[in-house]
């Protein structure tokens, strides 16, 4: 296997302004300061092919073995435990990200993943508590493909490389959501989902987003939620929205429009209609009639 370390502005990367650095490196010697702890503003993916690597990621010590993949977000620090690169083979990709006007991370125009897919992938990545994914065997081929294509530059290499990076993201996201959940413990995954929904109730959640967080396809997810909770995913979400709204209505200090928006309704009209349908009261009637002084 040829090894290479390609940095931005080198000729191999001309067609890829989003790739800041790509390497496929067999390291035979220990050099001091070869991997100093640094924070960067791009996304870094490190995949271990051979050897054992002692790294500090976001101030946590991790030991990586062959097949392990580390995902380091912009703003997180990363480096060798002794500030050096251990002996072994490792491949890495530094990728520039765009920030959407709302501050969310985006891949950029090169990707074939659509906007919703990208959003879900980053949501899954960000919710993941640990940056190291163990045993991602399929990633080996993907890093190798990128490396070979970059060196040979045969016809279609631009498309092939960008496509492979997309595949890498899909692989990571699927592996993460399966790892978090899977069929074994749907109640547990569902509780995690419920906590995410509640933590971000004003967001207009889609079924696709919810399914992605649990690591299931939309069809399987909908069926499982229905079986487990008795509700469709969107109706379950409405339950949570209305429960929170009731709590806020019982406090006198929040106005109804704010409650509507805080609990994820499009407008106070939308809130009022849904609330009335479920409880028999309009929000303001409910507020007036459900105060029962205990003394």
């Amino acid at each position: 296997m040829n090894q290479n370390v390609l940095k931005r502005d080198c000729k191999e990367l001309h067609a890829f302004p989003h790739i800041i650095e790509f390497a496929y490196k067999k390291n035979n010697t220990i050099q001091f300061d070869s991997l100093k702890r640094e924070t960067s503003e791009f996304l870094r993916l490190y995949y271990v092919i051979d050897g054992r690597f002692d790294w500090i990621i976001d101030n946590q010590h991790h030991i990586l073995y062959p097949g392990d993949l580390a995902v380091i977000f912009p703003g997180q620090s990363f480096g060798g435990e002794k500030d050096l690169l251990d002996i072994g083979t490792v491949s890495w990709l530094h990728l520039g990200l765009k920030l959407s006007p709302a501050g969310a991370m985006e891949l950029g125009r090169w990707t074939r993943l659509n906007e919703g897919e990208c959003r879900n992938i980053f949501k899954i990545l960000l919710l993941n508590p640990t940056p190291v994914l163990p045993k991602v065997k399929e990633a080996a081929t993907l890093f190798q493909t990128i490396s070979t294509e970059l060196l040979k530059q045969e016809i279609g290499f631009t498309a092939r490389i960008n496509q492979t990076i997309d595949e890498l993201f899909i692989l990571i996201a699927r592996q993460l959501s399966r790892q978090n959940n899977a069929r074994r413990d749907f109640p547990k995954s569902f509780l995690m989902l419920e906590e995410s929904l509640r933590a971000n109730l004003s967001h207009h959640w889609t079924v696709e987003e919810m399914a992605a967080l649990v690591g299931l396809g939309i069809t399987a997810f909908t069926e499982k939620v229905k079986n487990y909770t008795g509700f469709s995913p969107l109706n379950y979400l409405i339950n949570i929205r209305i429960s929170e709204a009731i709590k806020l209505l019982k406090r006198q200090d929040v106005n109804v429009t704010d409650i509507a928006l805080d609990t994820g309704f499009y407008s106070s009209q939308h809130f009022a209609t849904t609330f009335k349908k479920l409880t028999g009261y309009t929000p303001s009637e409910f507020r007036k009639k459900n105060i029962t002084p205990t003394e």
């Binding site: 069929r183 413990d185 509700f231 339950n239 209305i242 709590k247 409880t279 205990t294």
Partner: protein, 508 residues
């Protein structure tokens, strides 16, 4: 056609069921809500979420199964899980979440009380074991550890009392749920002054005590309209789910006991007398005035099977958890009683009756080089059922029984039912397949008695059709007893070691 509707507010789900007047099932519908664990000992639920789930499920159920058929609802009867606490402020709004039965934060308060003279006398009059589950200890915990919330609380309600208040505006608690609070004198059916004092409250802090047959005046107008219910429908506050399940299993009067195997489990008997256990191992809850359900609960029933299946089950072919459990049970059938010398203590979540030791932990004992996965499976099942037997044995020190009625999700696996029969050396009856669970059926019988269809609950309970499918095998029984003897000894012997390992686990 006339019909009776029951609403169970369970630990994790609402279930609405409708019966025709011959106890035939017209339909049932379920909706779940989560239990949150903000800290290791905390188990909480969102009271508004429970309420809205109940409303939503009930409304859809009525609109799909009842109103289109023009069924006439005669009564609606509630039941609920025991031991929950909701704190209500001066405007009638909940402060924070509900603490549910499995909330363990009051364990020090419970232990402290249990070891005192006051504790002994409180157990005697209230019948509720002094455990973190009991609202007496939960409220004491709030007083000692969250005084701001305690001071702001005007009423301490149960989940059911809260739901009923939301629907009808009345603050009431039935004798049955009240008898599981540790605050009620179950002989006089009045709040017990010593217990209130211990918790730092007065009876003004509690809802008004009513019979399980009490009917609040009416549903609020808006809910009548929403649900399409007229104000002639009798709302019955009902009892706790444990008491309801006992009635619904047809266990009534002498010589019978019921064994319920859900996520957690219990063995129960019914009688006119309270059982006074010197060692405070047995609960006594009120079903109706003068009828007591006595028994012991275990923490580790279905939850243990589920734990085992998740860890060791085969999911490679896309099995669901239930399927996976079924496959494991098939493998357990391939091993002879006693699991060829492998024994399991199932105390993964500590244990309540009869050892009442929160520090107890799981143990596989007797492991040798020949044991395979299938032995572990069988040993796990036998260990869980040994725990039920040790509750039964404790009960039998006070009151004998000659037959068992088994109910709950896990009691319906024939292998398990047979092992129960063999271990207890008693015939085990299960309910004829009617499609409804025992709690709902108990709700039906209670309602039907209230409207005069049966003269008494005794007569109502006779109507439950049981079949004796499982007869004990004496040879198996004697094998089990040899293992049970070791099981029982280990549970006592390991007391100090359980404490030591629990402390280490706490530090992690």
């Amino acid at each position: 056609m006339d019909c009776i509707v029951t609403i169970e507010i369970g630990t994790g789900a609402i279930r609405v069921t409708a019966f025709d007047m011959n106890s035939g099932l017209l339909g049932s519908s379920k909706g779940t809500y989560p239990t949150f664990h903000a800290r290791p000992d905390y188990s909480e639920q969102d009271p508004e979420q429970i309420f809205i789930t109940m409303l939503y499920i009930l409304k859809n159920f009525l609109n799909e199964k009842i109103h289109p058929q023009k069924h006439n609802i005669v009564s609606i009867c509630f039941s609920s899980a025991m031991h929950s606490v909701i704190t209500i402020d001066k405007y009638g709004a909940p402060i924070g979440n509900a603490m549910v039965w499995s909330d363990n934060r009051a364990k020090l308060e419970a232990e402290d009380l249990k070891n005192s003279e006051l504790g002994k006398s409180i157990y005697k009059v209230t019948g509720t074991p002094l455990h973190a589950m009991s609202p007496l200890n939960k409220i004491t915990w709030l007083k000692n550890n969250d005084n701001e919330r305690f001071q702001a609380t005007r009423k301490f309600l149960s989940i059911k009392a809260y739901i009923i208040q939301q629907l009808t505006d009345e603050y009431v608690i039935d004798h049955s749920v009240a008898s599981a609070t540790g605050l009620l004198n179950i002989h006089k059916l009045k709040w017990e002054e010593d217990a209130l004092q211990r918790a730092g409250i007065t009876k003004q802090h509690l809802p008004e005590l009513v019979s399980v047959l009490y009917s609040p005046k009416s549903l609020k107008k808006e809910y009548q309209t929403l649900l399409g219910l007229h104000d002639k429908i009798k709302i019955i506050v009902g009892s706790s789910d444990g008491c309801m399940a006992t009635l619904g299993a047809g266990v009534w009067g002498d010589g019978k006991a019921t064994i319920t195997i859900e996520e957690s489990g219990a063995v129960r008997v019914v009688g006119k007398e309270v059982i006074q256990d010197e060692k405070q191992r047995i609960f006594n809850y009120v079903l109706t005035e003068g009828n007591y359900v006595s028994g012991g609960p275990t923490n580790n029933a279905g939850s243990t099977f589920e734990w085992f299946a998740k860890q060791f089950g085969d999911f490679t072919r896309d099995y669901e958890l239930e399927e996976c459990i079924e496959n494991l049970i098939i493998d357990a059938g391939k091993v002879s009683p006693g699991s060829e010398g492998l024994l399991f203590l199932p105390y993964l979540q500590g244990e309540r009756a009869p050892i009442w030791n929160a520090n107890a932990r799981g143990v596989y004992f007797g492991l040798n080089i020949k044991h395979e996965l299938k032995h572990f499976i069988r040993a796990t099942i036998e260990g869980v059922l040994f725990a039920f037997f040790s509750i039964g044995k404790t009960l039998q020190e006070h009151r004998g029984f000659k037959s068992l009625s088994a109910n709950g999700t896990y009691a319906s696996y024939p292998l398990l039912t047979q092992i129960i029969a063999d271990i207890f050396n008693l015939p085990v009856h299960i309910k004829m397949n009617s499609g409804s669970d025992s709690v709902a059926c108990g709700g039906f019988l209670l309602s039907a008695t209230e409207i005069g269809m049966y003269k008494s609950l005794d007569e109502a309970a006779q109507k439950v059709k049981l079949v004796a499918n499982f007869h004990p095998d004496f040879h198996n029984h004697s094998t089990y007893m040899k293992y049970f003897e070791i099981f029982e000894r280990l549970g006592v012997k390991l007391y100090d070691e359980f404490g030591a390992i629990a402390r280490l686990q706490q530090d992690n």
